[in-house]
Structure formats: C-alpha cells, structure tokens
Symmetry: D2
Subunit: 347 residues, 4 copies
C-alpha cells in the first residue's frame, strides 16, 4: 500500500483528493493537514465524510509529514508550496503539487504572472509538468510533479493535436473557457456568494488569467515556435465542470475526417480521453465525477476556422483525479487505478 499525505486537505481539491485516495485500492491516507482546521476531525469540516473519516487534521508540518509518507500531495494557494518544499523533503517523499508553483519552466514568467517571488527556483528544473497524456514518461522518473491547472488541462488536451500536427495558424488561438464555481475554491468571497453568482454569468480576469502562460508553454512545447493565445475564463452558475471553446484558423481546407484522424492518432491509447462521434459535442454533465476529458470539434467552413470543444470535471481531471493518475504512473500502477468510475448523471 502506498502511504499518502495531503497538505491542504480542506480545500475543495484537497477534499476531492481525500475522497479518491480513500477509495483507491492501493493507497491509504496516512496524514491529512490543514492550517485553518488543525485538530479538527475531518468529518466536521466535510459532512460527506461523516462516519467515514473522522481523522484529526494536523498542522502543516511538511518536514515531519514527508518522513511518514511515500507520496505527499500539496493543495495550497500559489506561492506557499515553493517555500515549503526543498531538496531535503524530496529525499523523503515524492511530491505531487496541485498548486501553480512548479508549473512554469521560466522563473520570470512565473514571477510576472503571479506577482510573488519563487521560494525554491532551484527545484523548477526538477519538476515535471504532470499532464499525464503528454508527459507520462517524464512523470515516471520524477520526484516533483507540478499537477496542471484545471483550465490548462482541458485547453491543452483539446488543442494539442492541432498544434503538434501544424494544422492551424499558431497566432490565431483563442480559448473561451467556462467553469463551475468550485474552481474558485471554498474561501468566502462576494463573487461566489450564492445570490451573487447564481443565475448570472460573467467573464473575469480577461486577458490576464494565470493559466494563460501555462497553456502557452505546453502548446509551444509540442511545436517549434512560441505560441501566444487569448484566454478568457467565465464563471458559470453550477458547481462543477469546465468547458472550453477554442477557436483557431486552419492552415488550409480540411475535412472533419482529416482532422478526426489526427485526434484519433494522438489519443488512440488514452483511456481518459473520449473523442465524441461527429456532431456530438462535449457537455460538462457527461464527465461529472470522472477523470474523462471529452473532446470534439466543428469546422466553420465559412471562415475556415476550427472550433474545438473540451469538457472535464475541474476537480477530478482538472485537479485531484489527475494527481492520482500521476501517483499511479509514479508508482507503476495501472494508470487508471482508482479512477475507473462512470460519470454520474443527473447529479
């Protein structure tokens, strides 16, 4: 059994991780920690765990915790993990960081977009960007996984085949993204007060969301040129789910079949990527509660653009599920262990 610890177990991503790990057949949760709720029983923080996990949350003593576990998941706001993780800790345990601190290869890009200085720049190079479908070979060998952002995962998986195969004008990419409110976490905020976001939609962090450089880095990584995109996230009055609608100009005329073939070639062995049949498009409801990413596209012949749609459960494939998938890879388990759940509906 893999012994796991969770730092930041009381945020939504931490909680989803707790749920997945407790149900994972090869893993047991050894330590859960939370600064805010230390010394509280877990089921007092999350009533769904009533009678299932009444373990006490401990303080965030990462050094201590790292000695007790084979893998340590970190689910903290950006800027904190990089100050807590060190080479020494990486000797004790493997780290899967659900935060943003190790996702960007370029320190200056990180510091520009996040507005903080990085606590352990020397570790950036060691870190592997854990988008499993693209990086599983590197993940296997790493002690420090930067688990991708939610918008990022969905955007990259949806666009990668087009970029890699040079089918689109790389300067033309626009990602219009929509997320449920869990993406904003459990911290109180007027914008996520029920009556303020229910029955309304808005865009936010227009042209300035921090997942932008992450998407650009990874898309650039599958081609030979540097890619800039426009990225606009929207807040949707629903609990879970991300849908991205991506637009790009095709380099020449292609048929649906031409491009379908390219996607199939890229993803033919991917259990968690579902390429939908022609004319059937992703809806977040079909992936809820699962690690799937559903993808399909439409060619707009009048403008010769391609419109790609991707959907994930933001807390699973966009956070905790992918973190478990990374753990499975690292420990040589079947990649889908503990993740083979059928999406629930209507839920």
């Amino acid at each position: 059994m893999i012994k796991a610890g969770i730092i930041g177990a009381t945020g939504y991503a931490g909680q989803e991780l707790m749920r997945l790990l407790m149900q994972h057949p090869e893993c047991e949760v050894e330590v859960i920690s939370s600064r805010t709720y230390k010394n509280t029983n877990y089921d007092q923080v999350y009533g769904n765990f009533m009678g299932i996990a009444s373990d006490k949350l401990v303080d965030e003593e990462i050094d201590e915790i790292s000695k007790k576990v084979d893998v340590l998941f970190i689910a903290l706001p950006h800027g904190i993990a990089s100050n807590k993780i060190s080479s020494k800790i990486l000797e004790n345990t493997k780290i899967i960081d659900l935060g943003a601190d190790y996702r960007l290869n370029d320190l200056s890009v990180y510091e520009k977009w996040y507005g903080v200085s990085h606590g352990s720049p020397e570790l950036i190079e060691e870190a592997v960007y854990g988008l499993c479908e693209l990086k599983r070979q590197d993940v296997k060998k790493s002690n420090l996984i930067a688990n991708p952002g939610c918008y990022t995962t969905c955007s990259i998986l949806s666009l990668m085949p087009l970029v890699k195969n040079n089918l689109i004008d790389k300067g033309s990419i626009i990602v219009d993204a929509k997320s449920g409110v869990t993406g904003a976490g459990r911290a109180l905020n007027l914008g996520t007060h029920y009556t303020e976001c229910n029955e309304s939609i808005k865009a936010y962090k227009i042209a300035s969301h921090r997942h932008t450089p992450e998407i650009e880095q990874e898309l650039s990584g599958v081609t030979d040129s540097s890619i800039s995109i426009s990225f606009t996230p929207h807040l949707i009055p629903m609990n879970r789910g991300i849908l991205i609608t991506a637009y790009a100009s095709l380099n020449k005329k292609y048929t649906y079949e031409d491009i379908k073939e390219v996607y199939e070639e890229c993803y033919k062995d991917e259990q968690f990527i579902r390429l939908l049949p022609e004319g059937v498009f992703p809806e977040t409801k079909w992936v809820k509660g699962s690690n799937y990413c559903d993808i399909n596209f439409q060619i707009d012949e009048r403008t010769n653009r391609i419109i790609v749609l991707g959907a994930i459960d933001n807390l699973i494939k966009g956070a905790a599920g992918q973190a478990v998938q990374n753990m499975n890879i690292i420990f040589g388990l079947k990649e889908s262990t503990g993740l083979e759940v059928i999406p629930a509906f209507p839920i």
Copy 2:
C-alpha cells in the same frame, strides 16, 4: 458473477442502476431493455456512458430476458410490471421491481391510490417490501422484491424508531418532504421544464401522493395500530436528493439523549444509516452519490413535538442503490458490495 438484466434501463433510476451494476464487482449486466430506445446504443441515450457502455438496448421481452439472467431489475411506471410478471417468470429469475406494483399488501389500497387494476394480485403476497434495514430476513428468501419508493424510504427510516418504541402520538405524524427534480423522471413535462421549475418551489399532490399509503403500511407494521399520516411533497430546484422534515407529538417529555439512545439501538449495525451528532442536521449535499440515509432530530420543547430530519440520494438509497442492496442480500453477498462509495461534494 451474477447476471443481471434491466427492464426500463433508460429512465433515471434505470440508468443509475446501470451505473451501479457496471461498477459492482460481483455482477455483470447481461441485458438492458427499453421500449422507447430499443435498438439504440446505450451511450447514445446517456452520454456519460460514452465509450463505456455501447450495448444495444433490446425490446422489453420479459419472458426471453428472464431466462438469461439471475436477477431482473424492473424500472417501469406503475401498472406495467404487474402485467408483465408471472409465476412462470419468477421461476426463471429473481425480480427486483423498482416500481410501485408490489409495494402495497392490500390490493384495494393499491387500486384506490393508483387508479388502475393490478395485473397479478396473486403475487402480492409473495412479494417482500425491500426496505433492507427493516426486512432483510424476508428479502433473503424472496424471489420478488418490491423496492421501496424514494420518499418512503427516507420517511420510514427516519420515523420507525419513534413508532416502534411508542414514543409519539401515532395520530400526529406529519411528513413535509422535499425532492430534487430527478424524482420526476426523464419524461418531458411543463412542470419540469428548466425555466418552469428553476428558481421556484412548490408543493404538489398535497394530501394525495401515492407514497402516503406505503409509509403508513410500513409504520403500522412496526407497531400494533393503524397509522395515518399527512404527507406533502415539494419540488426543489436541484437535481438530486430528498429531505424529509417529520413532525410528531411526543407521548411525554423526553430529552435528546433519551431518544438518541433509541435511534442508536435501532440502527447501531446499519452501515448506511448515519445518525448525526447533536445539533448537526441532514443536508442532501452530504449524501449525494451514496447509499446513505442521514438522520437527526430536534425536540421542540415549547410544543413537546419532535422534528425528525432525514436525507437520502433519491436515485440511490431511494431507488437504484437500495435495489442493489437488495440484490446483495438475496445473493448472500456483503450487503454493501458495490455501494461503499463516499458521497461526492460539491457536485
């Protein structure tokens, strides 16, 4: 492996059953049928099953199907199953009927509340009312299980200890029930059109809902007298979940602890019943996606009433989950097999 069939696999309860059975370690779904969608692939009807279940739905030929399976789940509107099931079919397979046809012992009560004549009254006596926590000994021996209604399950489990132990005035029971919209099924109806039930609440079938006699029958069954209740269901703008708020006059002054003890005694061995700590009350969100029934109560000292609250996931403990629990009992499996899932949140 238990071979299972589902008649009516494309309603919401049928679909949830499909999901649970496909994930059940000791069961495999052999046949799925639907009149409306016969010859269609299952994942064309429910996109969550895309790439997971593309089996073709067959017509509702119950005779044929009953020969192929060890257990046959029936999820049809009332009045149909009783015309399809016969002694002969019960020789072929075990039946777990999620509909109402065999729930009421008294034929005249059935015909009065449902307004139809019963197709196989001779089988009523054979049928066992499959509320697992109350009837598991009978379930074990039966070939024909009447799986309880959703409101019923939650109401009976919440009130039973009070009635059985004679703590309340049996003429004083009022159940004010609230259900999510999946309770109304997938059939189109103005009342469940999104913009007609979103952002509103209403009561319906006031003093006339068909789950009333079912609750009365089972509560009467644990005591020596005939019980009549007032039952009012409400439609809540959410997908899943039932909350019942039940009121009754206490027979004398009791403390919280007095009554807590009675509940604990009744349910101490029940894995799926969670008696919440004092002052913590059921919320449907904490049981979503699971087979749990959460219960707690408050004594209103000023009026000497008890207010009992119970919450379930209507499609699981209120339908498909309990059906699986019944299957587990019948086949001698651990009762929680395939049902030990932690409720998901926020979902």
Copy 3:
C-alpha cells in the same frame, strides 16, 4: 413628494427598497447611508444601479439624516436600530424599521429570543406592527412602524383567517417554511457560499428561529388565547421567494368551500392577496418581483387536517415592498402606489 432616507441601503432589503422608492411616483430618495460603504457611489456597490443611482452613501448619522427626511427606513441587523432610535428622532421623522427590534410587544420575549437587551424599550409601545392587511388603521396613526419579518408575513397572512374564525385546533399549528438564499442577506458565510448551498436543501434553526414568537404574537392577537407553533425554516437553492406549508387540525369537518368563504371574507378587499382557484397552489415563481401573497389550501380528509400554502417574494412583500406599502398608508397615498407591478417570469 415624500422625502425618504434609507439607513442600511446596501443590504439586500435596503437595495430592494432603493429600487422601489426610486420608481415610486410620490417619493424621492434623499439620503442613503451605509457604515460599510460610506463615501462609495451606490452603483459601485450594486451594478444594477449603474448610471441610475451614483449617489454617494453617507455614514449612519441617524440624527442628522432624520432632520432631512419625511420618512426614514431602517434596514439593519437586529439590536442596532433600538439603540439608534429615540423619541427625539421620532419627532423629526417617521420611522419604518425593517429589522426586528420593535416587532415584539413583550420586551422579555424579545430579549429571550434575540439574546440582546433592547436599546429603547420605552418605544415598544408606540411601535405598530406593520402587517398592512391586519394593521392598517394603526399604521396610519403611528410614527414608528415595525415592518414584519419575511417568514412571518407569509405565515400570518396564510393562517390568520383560520385562527380568527376558530376553525382549527390552536395547539396544532405547524409551519414548515422554505426560503430562497437572499433571506440570509449579503454578508459572507460558509452556509451561503455558492457551492455549499447550491443543489442542496437543509433545515436550520429548527424550533428556534426568531420569527416564531412574531408569528405567535400576531396569531394570538386575532383570537382569545395564546398560540404556540412549531416553526422550521429551510434554505432552498434559489435567489428569492418564500413558501410556507402550514398544517393544522380542523375543529370539525369542513368542505373546501366552507373555508374558502372564510378566506374570501377576510381578504376580499385586499389587492395584494391572491386566493388561488381550487386545486391551484402557490409557487414562488408566480409572485417574484411583486408585492403579492398567493394563498391556497387543501383539506386532508383522511386526517382532518388543513394544509395551507402561502408564497411571497421575501424581499418585497416580506421586506421592502411591505415597507413601501406602510409608507403609502402613513402618507395617505393609495396603498398600492409604486407597487402595482406584474410579477416577472421566468426570471
């Protein structure tokens, strides 16, 4: 033109009042105040007022403000108004208090349920409980109106004819109430964080909600005996609306028509009370955005109970609308002035 001021203009009730008063043909808003947002333009606090009200919010200097206005609306949490209002202020202006401080006639009941001491007990006797349909003669003559609570308004209007005409067992009243989330206000709270209350239902303050003594006081007031009720509020995942489902035992057998006549007699001249046709029951959607209270009932013949349903828009008839109605009464305007709006749907 009546000059009005609003203390606490940035809570939801204050904001709804602002909207109603700005659209009122005989009134103009002279001063708006807010402790939290003083010196901020109103449309920066509420974007719906963009370009419509960019007035600056001033501090809550009630003495100063009271000199400038003909009527002063106070929309503050309980316990504050009673410390701000004095006889001197009542010489300057008329007060309509949307809070709870002057609603209960009995000081000890107030202090017991609210757990604070009252700041101006000498004014309690002067205050008139402003449930317009019951008290309009008293309202006319008063300088200090205690505007009723939201649950209270709906409960009293729904039950009053039964109590007044002695049709029910006065010890048998149970009110099961359901409210949208605006009832909890704009202050941040985990319980009203979007992802915590969306897609779920819960009861809260069971047998202890502060609107209980208010309902009891007013129902007792229309009969000769002291009435105790059981009251359970529930939080519904929707923005607006209150539905109450009230249960009581009938004193003898009555037909629907018998009781309908009693309601019609009570409310025949009431513009804002809509007695629905037999078999049609209140739904909160039909009153949204309006000052209406929709009422109907069903007799449960099997138990000889009556089940009364009432629906209001909690921010209008349950708060700001009724406050305006009170203002109209005080100033001798047509009672419906500024309130004759058709409910909007679907909204």
Copy 4:
C-alpha cells in the same frame, strides 16, 4: 392610448411583451391570441397574471385582429409570420414581428439558413430591421418592423463601434455567446428538461446558428465590406440573460482610452446602453428585468486583440423590450416609455 394585439402571447417572449404592455402608460392590450391555448384565460397559462389578466386568448385570426389594433406584435416561430402577413394587413395596422422572417434582406440567405421558403418575399424590402439604436429613423417611417434576435442585438451593439470606425480586422471577428434557458422557449424538449440542462454547460448549433447571418448583415451595413464571423452559442443553466464575449484583432495598437472614446461617441445619447467604467465588466445579473445593454472591453496587449463583452436580458432588450421600444418610436412616444425600470437584483 395605443391599442395593441399580440399573436403568440403564450410563448415566453409573448408573455414578457404582455407584461410590459400592460404596464405601459400609453398602451392597452386589446387582443391576445394563441393557437395552443385559444379560449383559455391568460392567467391559467401564466400564474403570475393571476387576478391581473384573465382575458381569454383568441385564435390566431390575424386579419380580424389587425382591424382592431394600432399595432400588432407577432411572436411566432420562424416561417409562420411571413405566411400570415400581407400588404392588406399592413394597411390595417403596424406590425412588429419578433420572429426572424423579415430580418434578413437577402431572400436567399433567409431560405438557406432557415430551410423554408419565405411566404411574402415582396414585403422584405418594406421591413425595417428594428435595432433601435441603429435604425430609429427608419423605424419611424415603417409599418413592418423586424425585431432583432436576442444574440444579434447584444452582438451588434457590442461590436458596431469597432466595425464602423474601422478599428479591427473585419475577418477576425469571433462571437462566443452564452444564453439562459428562456432563449429556448417554453416548448418541451429533452435539452431543456430541468435535470438535463441544470448544472451543465454546452455549446450548440456551432457555426450554424441562425443569428449568424443577421449579425453579419448588420455589421456589414455599417462598413463598406462584407463581414463573416464565427458564432458559437452556449446554453447556461440560468433562466435569463445573454452574455457575449467577442474577439477581434485590432488594426493597430490602441489604448483603452482611444477605444472608449469611440464607444462613447457612438452611444453618448443612448439611454439603454451603459458603457461600464474601465475594469468593470458586464454580468447578466445587472441587467435582468431591464432593457439595458451593458458593454465594456479589454485590450489583450500580448496578442493585440480586443475582447468585447456585452450583456442583455434576452427577453427584454433581446425581444419584448426592444419591441416596445420600437413601438414607442413608431408612435412618437418618448423612446423609453414603459421601459424605465431599474434592473432587479438578486432575482
């Protein structure tokens, strides 16, 4: 008083129109008609009108009706109005058609996108596209107004200043649109069944929605070249509201102020267009229940794109409100008569 009739008074747009017209100080609704509900009282079809409008709905005898009214609003699915309207009818009354039949100038474009043949092509030329802010001079003189589509209104108003002033690459326009579910009407459909669209988001009619040619026609009309756009609508789990997020490449480097000036110049006299302050972006909640269109934009300097956001209430500025605005123009009333309502919040 203007005498108005409504053909198709029982759809959502027809109902909203009914509400606006009944509250309009210079208009009275003389006839309401509905094929489905003929001979039914209006308040039996829409409970919000209970006690307010119990008029009987008549059959759709447009000839008869046209003789009785000064203006006739038609709110029918596309393809019907063009078969009902004739020159003769236009001699009797003015027509404001909320449907699509007369919106497109080019018959072949209409027939291609709508897949039906037009019933009165000879009237197309007479019809004026009633986007008030652009066409009020023409509206004044016309007997036949084609009231714009909901997505269209919001898209054109948001983009027009950029196109007209030649600030963007006209081949680069992408409109990613989001609508509440009222946009789909009251007709039953699996896609708008509560539990099928609640808690989910999807795109639909990708690159094929019929509002596309309408947007293209009107944007082309303010410049010298033919414009093609990519348009993708999404269904949002909320009742009302449209948000459009439009992307375009700027022709050169501009500052926020440069472009703000252009918008201000275009809309400085427009009461219903609110240009939000820098950094404040449209949210559908701020326009609900009103005729406003809120607009703002952000320059994405890294890609030199502009991202324009626009929000309207789809049933008001996107349908019934604009229809009333057109009526006001035609009859020489103040354009905002009956429309000067403050948006309601939270509702």
